[in-house]
């Protein structure tokens, strides 16, 4: 569908015009939880603007049909979670580990994992301070990472249903988030705490041992909650599914980054990378969506066409952009995001299928971005810089975020061979001319 139109990034109204070409039968074809009665999710992005996502009016989206599917599915997540609950599924909040615990949860057929932290994008998409203000009312200090929106979302009980279980991973990781999870107890929730150990050279085996115990604890809790005493084989199946998605995304990332002309915008690519965490709560459907995207990308590459200019400057992006519009902006200014470090390395590596499944999961987690040193975290970016593939690095900090405060200067030290720009992402709707000028100046230096 839309194969006749040239790839480009289009606005909300352009999408609405283009959407009229989608026949009803096609709309009916795409459903979540395989339910054709109420599971439809294909709609023009303008629908979500009407629901309150005001930033969509300023964003540009990829104009392929596969991307349309992606946006419909991603924005439908809240509705999907409420439906899950209504239909008797167990909704499990997996917080803080970013990529491994959902694989355990998904082994239980009726359980739906989700990451409340991904709701930190809501204030930006909605261009609204409602959640941030509520977080302040709950006692969170002003200069705190935007993840504080999540505590507010829990307290408002309107963004996702009350989870049947909250798994809270804490330890050698981000502090702001650990503090938020602690406050959940204060507003009536009771998380199951899971220890994230520190990664150090030489102690990997010991650390994996600790993780295995934690994962077994989660498994037991899931057995209790679902009443299903599953065999480990089910966990292996879940691992295979996760691996299939991971391999698709790996292929997609490689194809996109090696293409002469960028075949997909940075914004959609970020959404896809994060999909590895938990498939936005319907793994089977998300896999099909990514397959569709990969096909689109391959077709574009084969035709030598894409969404940016051929001479777009390749840069690396470090730490996910709290405000999605920054990804758009940098492309408007003539850059191309060639490689990324979004703090979720553990969700991108293959999980061994030949080991005991708990050990395999623990070993995969040992690749986590936040549990080791900054040096390790940006090793891949540094390699790309050394190969000459990357001309500059953009770091999006969040003011008050514990790791950003200490990592940024270390990164600048490590990446001295190219210009590095570190910016603090302003609060929703707060991108100023001054910030744009800084971005432009950074790009000028690279040129």
């Amino acid at each position: 569908m839309f194969s006749e139109v040239a790839p480009k990034r289009i606005t909300l109204s352009e999408w609405s015009r283009q959407f009229r070409k989608v026949p009803d039968e096609v709309i009916k074809k795409f459903n979540y939880y395989q339910n054709s009665d109420w599971g439809r999710y294909l709609s023009p992005p303008a629908t979500f603007f009407v629901y309150g996502a005001r930033e969509l009016k300023e964003l540009k989206f990829d104009n392929s049909f596969s991307s349309l599917r992606l946006w419909g599915f991603v924005f439908n997540e809240s509705e999907r979670l409420f439906r899950a609950k209504q239909t008797g599924r167990k909704v499990i909040a997996t917080m803080g580990d970013l990529g491994i615990i959902p694989v355990i949860v998904m082994a239980f057929p009726e359980a739906i994992p989700f990451y409340p932290e991904c709701f930190w994008w809501v204030p930006f998409y909605n261009k609204s301070n409602v959640l941030l203000t509520r977080a302040s009312e709950l006692g969170i200090p002003e200069a705190t990472c935007f993840s504080k929106a999540i505590l507010a979302a829990f307290s408002k009980r309107a963004y996702f249903p009350v989870p049947d279980l909250i798994i809270a991973a804490t330890g050698a990781s981000c502090d702001d988030y650990s503090c938020l999870m602690q406050l959940l107890e204060d507003i009536g929730y009771n998380p199951l705490w899971v220890e994230i150990p520190l990664r150090r050279q030489g102690s990997e085996e010991r650390v994996a041992g600790y993780l295995i115990e934690e994962y077994q604890k989660i498994w037991q809790k899931m057995v209790e909650i679902t009443g299903r005493n599953l065999q480990k084989e089910e966990l292996k199946k879940s691992i295979r599914k996760a691996n299939y998605l991971r391999s698709l995304v790996k292929e997609l990332k490689e194809t996109v980054s090696q293409a002469k002309i960028a075949p997909l915008p940075a914004l959609e690519m970020m959404v896809i990378e994060f999909g590895n965490l938990y498939g936005y709560g319907d793994f089977a459907e998300w896999i099909k969506i990514v397959e569709g995207i990969l096909q689109t990308v391959k077709e574009r590459v084969a035709k030598g066409i894409g969404v940016l200019r051929e001479d777009a400057i390749p840069i690396a992006w470090v730490t996910p952009s709290a405000d999605p519009i920054l990804l758009n902006l940098i492309e408007d200014f003539g850059c191309r995001v060639l490689t990324t470090e979004y703090l979720i390395n553990q969700a991108l590596v293959p999980i061994s299928e030949n080991l005991d499944p708990f050990l395999a999961l623990a070993q995969a987690f040992l690749n986590a971005s936040l549990i080791g040193t900054t040096k390790e975290r940006i090793r891949r970016i540094k390699e790309e810089v050394e190969k000459g593939r990357i001309k500059g690095v953009l770091i999006t900090n969040v003011l008050g975020a514990s790791h950003c405060a200490l990592e940024t200067k270390l990164m600048e030290e490590e990446l001295q061979a190219v210009p590095v720009l570190a910016i603090d992402v302003p609060s929703p709707g707060g991108i100023t001319e001054q910030l744009k000028t800084r971005l432009e100046a950074f790009i000028e230096t690279i040129k």
């Binding site: 709950l138 006692g139 969170i140 200090p141 200069a143 705190t144 809270a168 804490t170 330890g171 050698a172 990781s173 981000c174 502090d175 702001d176 650990s178 503090c179 938020l180 999870m181 602690q182 406050l183 107890e185 204060d186 998380p191 705490w193 899971v194 220890e195 994230i196 150990p197 520190l198 150090r200 102690s203 010991r206 600790y210 040193t373 900054t374 040096k375 900090n397 003011l399 008050g400 514990s402 790791h403 950003c404 405060a405 200490l406 990592e407 940024t408 200067k409 270390l410 030290e413």
Partner: protein, 331 residues
């Protein structure tokens, strides 16, 4: 004598000193050190981390190594910054956040290996027992003084107590503990908690005690060592005592921290709480509202970046707070 820098009350000082080097707690807090630290981290790192980094950068030659812990995210990451910007050997003790003594015990074993290498000597059971004895005596001395501080009326000020604690943190036991006490204070009795109290924070304690009497605290820099009592004079005893100290607020869940402080507030007949937090110290800042609710006592919040630029404002707020809590006694 060469110094071993350390950063946290979960790091056994007995093991550090068994190397023959002097354990020196990194707990500095002045604007000038903090500004120096900003050369290597962003402005929104907490001032304690910045000041410690600044101090180390200026005094690197005095140190032989640094042992840090994964207390909070910033505290852990400062160790990587030290590794990068100095040539000191650095060891990290992974202090578990959840109730996991196995991890802690393994970490102590790892620490011993690091220290033996650093000090080029074996930490024999005899040596360890001797060091435990030495530090236990010191802590016992502090506990006695703490009883005077706790008495009703309080017989020893926290600003004087802080000076004794400084000698503990710098590894130098005083020749004698003061036998006579400061004059009894009838100021309203308060409990101090929050971010660490630095070496240089004594004027702030004095300022508080003009109108209030701090009869107890839960702060690194002041009372934390008192809470560690080693019964068995060997490595197992060290592990037990250090693991089972009243837990820091960053432990998950942090219910036991609340239980401990609630008990202290009652036992010490406190009329109010002073919560001292440093900029960007999330572990305490996030919990202030909860503390107010849970402890049921008036709470004075004081936030600092180590500068004394707000001193006249503080003076007014402290005086007003003292006035407002005079009649309020926790029973």
């Amino acid at each position: 004598m060469g110094l071993i820098g350390y950063t946290c009350s979960y790091i056994p000082v007995e093991l550090l000193s068994a190397t023959g080097f002097l354990p020196y707690r990194l707990i500095h807090g002045t604007i000038s050190f903090s500004e120096k630290g900003e050369e290597v981290v962003k402005v929104d790192a907490c001032p304690l981390v910045k000041a410690n980094l600044g101090y180390l950068l200026e005094n690197e030659k005095r140190f032989v190594g640094v042992v840090g812990a994964t207390g909070c995210d910033l505290a852990r990451r400062q160790l990587e910054v030290i590794t990068h910007f100095t040539s000191l050997p650095v060891h990290i003790l992974n202090n578990p956040r959840t109730d996991n003594p196995k991890i802690f015990n393994d970490e102590i074993e790892e620490l011993v290996k690091f220290l033996e290498k650093l000090g080029q000597k074996k930490l024999t059971p005899e040596l360890v027992a001797r060091e435990i004895e030495r530090w236990e005596n010191f802590r016992e001395g502090l506990r006695v003084m703490d009883q005077q501080r706790k008495a009703k009326p309080s017989l020893f000020s926290t600003s004087d107590f802080h000076k004794l604690c400084i000698s503990y943190h710098k590894g130098n036991p005083p020749a004698n503990f003061p036998s006579s006490t400061s004059s009894p204070s009838t100021n309203p009795r308060v409990y101090l908690l929050g971010s660490p109290i630095s070496y240089e924070a004594n004027p702030f304690l004095q300022l508080l005690e003009k109108d209030l009497q701090i009869v107890g605290d839960f702060n690194c820099g002041i009372s934390r060592p008192l809470l560690i009592k080693i019964r068995e004079k060997n490595l197992t005893g060290i592990k037990e005592a250090y693991y089972h100290q009243p837990p820091c607020i960053f432990k998950r869940p942090n219910k036991k921290f609340y239980e401990w402080v609630s008990m202290e507030l009652k036992e010490r007949h406190c009329q109010g709480i002073v919560a001292w937090t440093l900029d960007y110290c999330d572990n305490y800042e996030f919990e202030l509202s909860r503390m107010e609710k849970t402890f049921g006592l008036p709470l004075l919040r004081i936030r600092s970046d180590f500068s004394f630029s707000h001193i006249s404002q503080w003076q007014l707020r402290i005086a007003a707070f003292a006035e407002s809590i005079k009649e309020n006694i926790y029973v």
